[in-house]
Symmetry: C2
Amino acid sequence: MRASTGDGEQDLEAPASPPRPAGRRGPRPAGQATISRVAEAAGVSRATVSRVMNGSPTVNPELAARVRAAAEALDYEPSAAARRLALGRTGAVALVVPDLANPLFQSVLRGLSQAAGRAGRQLLVVESDEDPEEEVILALEARRNSDGLVLASPRAPDERLRALGDRLAPFVLLYREVAGLEAPSLSIDNAAGIGAVVSHLTGHGHRRLAYLAGPDGSAGNAERLAALRALAQAVPGFELTVLACGSMFEHGHAAAPRVVECGASAVVAFNDMVASGVLTGLRELEVRVPGEVSVTGFDDIPFARYTTPPLTTVSIPQSELGRQAWERLWGLMNGEGGGYNVRYQPRLLIRGSTGPAPG
Amino acid sequence: MRASTGDGEQDLEAPASPPRPAGRRGPRPAGQATISRVAEAAGVSRATVSRVMNGSPTVNPELAARVRAAAEALDYEPSAAARRLALGRTGAVALVVPDLANPLFQSVLRGLSQAAGRAGRQLLVVESDEDPEEEVILALEARRNSDGLVLASPRAPDERLRALGDRLAPFVLLYREVAGLEAPSLSIDNAAGIGAVVSHLTGHGHRRLAYLAGPDGSAGNAERLAALRALAQAVPGFELTVLACGSMFEHGHAAAPRVVECGASAVVAFNDMVASGVLTGLRELEVRVPGEVSVTGFDDIPFARYTTPPLTTVSIPQSELGRQAWERLWGLMNGEGGGYNVRYQPRLLIRGSTGPAPG
DNA sequence: ACGAGGTGAGAAACCGGTATCTCGATGCGG
DNA sequence: CCGCATCGAGATACCGGTTTCTCACCTCGT
């Protein structure tokens, strides 16, 4: 079934076929036109075709027209692979995220995808869910297939990132900041977010808080937890219970019994999914929110507005992060400095899931 | 600041530098080792290095070891670009979706990403949100940068897809079926899903249904609507009101007043996001669900389980679709036939948002 | 021992563009 | 009217691999 090489079996008039060209493979996609064919058809050199295709101004308009016509006729598309090789760049950027299921990364993905698309760049997406160690390996590999990287790597250790920093460059780091790394980072001021949540809750008379902790090793979780602990120290009468939980709906849902058991009047959840899960769990236990227990989330995913009751949460500019990540990366790729790190200041959105402490 | 070309300014012993090599550019990533350098270091030919790197068995083990050592020492990584060109394949597959914000596509993305990752393939993600016309253009472009395509293109006209079918191949079509296209498709039996919903509702005594329609031109919406209309014809006493709506939370939320106004006792929403939005909207209007109005969704996104009340919805195997899409595409790329189209039969999940018709 | 058959590795021809170099044809100043 | 700078386009040397072709060297058979 395989098509034969094409030439007749015997070269009838070839001069005994001396060396004869060697390599003859490369399943080119069904006789796609190459630059040589176009050059031949237009009666010019390959160089000229290249110049025309790249809009070089030093070509005779008449010639250019002829070339374009030929290209059109053969519906020629320059081979991306060949350009990559010759130019030394891939035309793509890569996004590495730990978990595509997380709405947080989805909106970054979205913002980035659109920005990259507008700039005519491909977007490579890599999920590093498995192994914290894997994160860095995958990032390196992704980097090799792209011109730049947007890296959301919550679990890779700081030193690891510092060590590989220049092999990953240019890249921008998302949702975390690593000291001594020259790559710019875009992150969230988690402490400020937690601060706003806590003062909102204490203002309503809550004293006993439960924190539904995110995944171990998540940088974001670590910061939020640390902020909470610091506040627990600083504020007299503030009592904090930390409950291991996770980052998904189910985790929050499953944690509901432990929440009521620990007797807290307010629950600070690692993120909105957990918060939403615990909301449902509490409802099933017939605990009234916010009557008996207040609940807060983090991130303000699109869904947060539609829980029952609507979730009080910390809003962070997710798609802005995607867009900014692109801007930064683009700058870096064009040799501009990365600029300063930025920490976005989150905003507390007070909705229906929080209220005065009971009693 | 740019590093000098490297050679001493004057070639002291070069023979007056005759022609001198021409092309000298290509910002190779900071002196990355090339196959030539490795060959030189190991004292073998480039061909041999290539053979070793690709695990050809016809190499003297001792030589192979020497090559591997040299490669290790220079930490050599074969250039992806060069391989792409020589091999004629990109090593990547592309996913084209209309809307990355839709959880439906997110889980496909996820399944595909993981499958592709395991196979050592890159995944290109393209969002075609803008223009229905754009969908096809973007798909073509994505295809040029990959070896295969997974295409979720709800709005592109059938003929357009048929016309471009072979320029897109190999590809698999998602969530829709196009007659006369040789690409395999993985889709959902929308009519069956709607059938299940309707018989569930009519079984509970509902007679007046409202359909919150999805985006115009969406193939999925068209099928669901058609199924609904057919049933309205077939079942005596069945009254159907079609309300233009959309596909997002906000759309459903905004539609709530129109729902109560039209007097239906049950709402069939285009998808879970719309359903969830209308749930919230109805709550705000103090309409009890399912006491006064029943609501159903479609898709069973992760969130559906956590609405209040939990959403009765049509469950479709989203990540299975991602995985299957990969399997099919992989098969196609290896020259196997695409196999048959498959229509997944959805399952109705009865949760809390539906109940007996009032009165 | 000598020719046939095998093997392993180097040489070289690609893959399909891009960019430098070179050279013939103009344009222009002196 | 001639020489020099300019300009446009062809020739060609890459980019960094892969693979076919070729050939030297070994082994084996008789």
